[in-house]
């Protein structure tokens, strides 16, 4: 009975949280739309400089552009269309936004998932190797590599990836890995220093079994929280990397949308980016809190 009530509370809490997130996401998207709307160059097209256009055509082009003069009405139309699942049409690419997102999202998604996979594997490996072996070499080289990577601007990493023709996810994993490694290392270090682990070691248990039986269970809950955080990092990194590498994902789409002041596109792209980032952060938060509750 108590469990039932608890589940109910949890469910209600979750629901509130989700609706709050969605509101926040929409708020962020509308904020960025406002910024773009009032940015210089809104409603201006590069083709106006083409001397082949006659004066009449240029006038027609401009007439065509003055669509979202009132921002309030744009918001209203956008939100009511959004409620029906209609995302509008991109002004610069003349295609439905939904179609564009459907084409681009999977690419970015797969790059992020692969990038995260590689980064997690590498970070786990290096951190656990360094600690389990307790040898200074692994330790020092792991730290050196991660702090070197941490010191490289992500734009340089993206340009390197372009030069080496490495796919985008490699650049993403290179950006995520050092942050992950750092955190994971300190996490494992803390677990290793727990008294019961010390005791186990004093009894002569093998390194592997200490790691699996005592250290990992301790470190798992915060690792789950880390998963959410790392997802947010990867997503945040993917956008500039894609813009620089010119890989046809969401980042490139967002960059183009900003450059061409494409209001419908920018609203939706920021909405998606905001929602994903917020969700990842919230999940991390939730995971952290849930496990903290468990251990209590």
């Amino acid at each position: 009975m108590i469990r039932h009530a608890k589940a109910g509370i949890l469910f209600r809490h979750g629901l509130r949280r989700v609706s709050f997130l969605i509101c926040l996401g929409i708020g962020g998207a509308l904020f960025s739309a406002t910024l773009i709307r009032f940015a210089p160059g809104y409603g201006v097209q590069e083709r106006e400089l083409d001397p082949r256009w006659s004066a009449k055509s240029v006038e027609a082009l401009r007439q065509e552009q003055v669509l979202h003069e009132g921002l309030a009405s744009f918001y209203f139309h956008y939100l009511s269309a959004l409620a029906h699942g209609d995302l509008g049409e991109s002004e610069s690419l003349k295609r439905p936004v939904r179609e564009l997102l459907a084409q681009r999202f999977p690419l970015t998604g797969s790059a992020i998932v692969r990038g995260l996979g590689v980064a997690w594997l590498a970070a786990t490996l290096l951190a656990s190797l360094g600690l389990a072996s307790r040898g200074w070499f692994y330790e020092a080289s792991g730290t050196a590599v991660s702090s070197l990577l941490l010191s490289l601007p992500s734009a340089v990493i993206a340009m390197l990836a372009v030069h080496l023709r490495a796919p985008t996810f490699c650049a993403i994993s290179v950006v995520v890995f050092p942050r992950l490694h750092r955190y994971m290392r300190s996490l494992l270090l803390r677990s290793y220093d727990q008294p019961h682990v010390l005791a186990a070691r004093a009894r002569g248990l093998g390194g592997v079994s200490i790691f699996w039986r005592h250290v990992l269970p301790l470190a798992t809950p915060p690792l789950f929280a880390l998963l959410g955080v790392s997802f947010a990092i990867a997503f945040g990194a993917a956008i500039p990397i894609e813009a620089l590498c010119d890989s046809p994902g969401l980042g490139q789409l967002a960059w183009q949308a900003a450059l061409s002041r494409d209001l419908p596109l920018i609203v939706n792209v920021t909405l998606i980016v905001c929602l994903v980032m917020l969700a990842a952060n919230a999940l991390a938060d939730l995971a952290g809190r849930a496990f903290a509750g468990d251990t209590q």
Partner: protein, 549 residues
């Protein structure tokens, strides 16, 4: 432990591997030509084409009545076997090739030409291609007395009429596939937005080579959408793409060192880079600044104080030529060769400025009321050569005591400043010229025009020389003899050189890169430089070197 590490390492490696790419159909006889578009094609409708990417696709897929040979700069019959322009330059009569079919099998007749012209000249259809035919108010009349003849009559004389048909790709009046049914050498087979366009050989293409074999030789052309030029060059050097249609100067020398046969410099091209001062009377500038910019001596002095040969040597590595006027020397017929070559002369510039009341005091130039001469040049961000040119102009002008600031802006905000708010002092931009005819620059020189950048949309000419420009432009447009047009246009060039409303800086060379694997290439000064003869291109035996994925 070690085994686990190995498993994990293998997993990492597997995840690291690039996605498996299916084997390419490289073994087919014609092969696949591979190169990059620099932006997303906005339309596949040939009538609505306005940017480079769509234009490239129109060139490769569209069948036109008359083709401008990019090498000889002469007109050649294409879908029309012959044509005749009436003496008043209003009517053009075509004799069409018979027995041709669109890529989807629909027959080609004069009806298709009539349909295309009607659609193109529809006042509701705003397209640069259509606008270039518009010389006066009224309807276009089209007569097609038989399936292989068609006559088009315009409401007013159109100067250089037949040349304009090079841009008009004929649409099918009846095909269910609408604009996707084409008469050119290739058709659009697949389009992956944001990534690539695949063109395949049009088996119904009319042209044959001299041995009677049907053209084109190539099976397909893959066009990757690639905005980043560094990546494009990188891919060319790796042999992943076969050509670069316009190569930037900064890559030319390095490419030439590595692959001497691949890099081509055709000499000065049609494109020019120039800067101008804002002379709009309503511009939100201070009164003294407006007075400087309106003074002919000031503009001429600036022009004299810019070291153009340094610009072409340092910024473009010698792959550009100092420019004097609106017409590039590459445009053989229309270029006014009697124009004085501008000399770099900062002392002369100072003398000119002194005539206009400016004086140099302790290394700074001041106007007659003692204001320090200082202005900001804007240019579009992300264009390295323009940023560098401005930086060099900055140093050149500092020699005559003028302080120049440089601000780069992204394109939309730059255009807003130069076309709407006029909130700028000077701007450095380039003009991409695809057309040789002076008529294509009508909207630049008429004082009432939108693209009369230094002072657009004037209700009546602000200066006498602008009034003269208006008169000359109108007179050349209605003249029927090329000789008269040339005299008018020469005078326009002379006025521009005297008044310097646009300070022309350099004509960039037309450069392209073509892999040795491509057989039959003949790069030209006119665009498309590298693939203008795409129907006659072939991949050589060592194509594998170029086409590996």
């Amino acid at each position: 432990m070690i085994r686990r590490v190995c498993v994990a390492l293998t997993l990492t490696l597997v995840l690291c591997l690039p996605p498996f790419v299916g084997a390419d159909s490289a073994s087919q006889p014609g092969g696949e030509l591979h190169f990059c578009l620099r932006g997303e094609p906005k339309t596949f409708n040939p009538l609505l084409v306005e940017e480079d990417a769509s234009e490239a696709i129109r060139y490769l897929t569209g069948g036109v009545l008359i083709r401008l040979n990019r090498q000889t700069q002469a007109l050649e019959p294409s879908l029309a076997v012959s044509w005749k322009v009436s003496p008043d330059s209003r009517t053009i009569k075509f004799q069409l090739r018979t027995g041709l079919h669109f890529s989807d099998g629909t027959a080609f007749t004069s009806e298709d030409v009539a349909y295309t012209m009607k659609a193109l000249m529809d006042p509701q259809l705003h397209s640069p291609t259509g606008d270039s035919f518009r010389s006066g108010e009224g309807q276009v009349e089209i007569q097609s007395p038989s399936p292989d003849t068609v006559a088009v009559t315009f409401p007013a004389p159109v100067a250089g009429l037949e040349r304009l048909f090079d841009q008009v790709a004929i649409l099918s009046a009846h095909s269910p596939k609408k604009e996707m049914a084409v008469l050119g050498p290739f058709y659009v087979a697949d389009y992956a937005p944001g990534s690539s366009v695949l063109l395949r050989r049009n088996t119904n293409y009319w042209k044959k080579d001299k041995d009677g074999r049907p053209l084109p030789y190539l099976d397909s052309i893959r066009l990757d959408i690639q905005r980043n030029r560094d990546i494009e060059v990188l891919r060319f050097r790796r042999g992943e793409i076969h050509l670069i249609n316009t190569l930037d100067a900064e890559y030319f020398d390095r490419l030439q060192k590595e692959m001497p046969t691949a890099a081509h410099d055709e000499g000065p091209g049609l494109d020019s880079e120039f800067m101008w001062f804002n002379q709009v009377p309503t511009a939100p500038l201070s009164e003294p600044k407006k007075n400087w910019f309106r003074a002919t001596e000031f503009r001429r002095a600036i022009s004299m104080a810019i070291n153009r040969s340094d610009l072409s040597r340092v910024v473009f590595g010698g792959h550009a030529h100092p420019a004097f006027g609106p017409v590039s020397p590459a445009n053989h017929f229309w270029f006014n060769s009697s124009l004085p070559v501008p000399q770099y002369d900062s002392a002369g510039a100072l003398r000119l400025l002194a005539q206009a009341g400016f004086r140099l005091q302790d290394g700074t130039l001041r106007d007659s009321s003692g204001n320090r001469v200082e202005f900001t040049v804007i240019t579009n961000s992300g264009n390295k050569s323009r940023e560098q040119m401005t930086a060099m102009i900055q140093q050149d002008l500092s020699q005559i005591g003028i302080k120049v600031n440089l601000v780069t802006l992204d394109f939309p905000s730059l255009i807003e400043r130069i076309t709407r708010t006029y909130d700028y002092e000077a701007c450095l931009l380039g003009l991409v010229n695809t057309d040789l005819d002076p008529n294509s620059q009508m909207n630049v020189w008429l004082s009432s025009a939108e693209n009369h950048q230094w002072n657009p949309k004037q209700s009546k000419p602000a200066t006498t020389w602008e009034a003269e420009l208006d008169g000359l432009m109108h007179s050349q447009a209605s003249a029927t003899s090329d000789k008269k047009r040339k005299t008018d246009w020469d005078r326009v060039q002379q006025i521009v050189a005297e008044q310097q409303p646009f300070i022309y800086l350099v004509n960039k060379d037309a450069m392209s890169a073509i892999s040795p694997a491509v057989v039959g290439s003949a790069p030209s000064v006119l665009d498309p430089h590298a693939f203008w003869n795409a129907d006659a291109l072939r991949l050589g035996p060592d194509a594998a070197l170029g086409a590996q994925k």
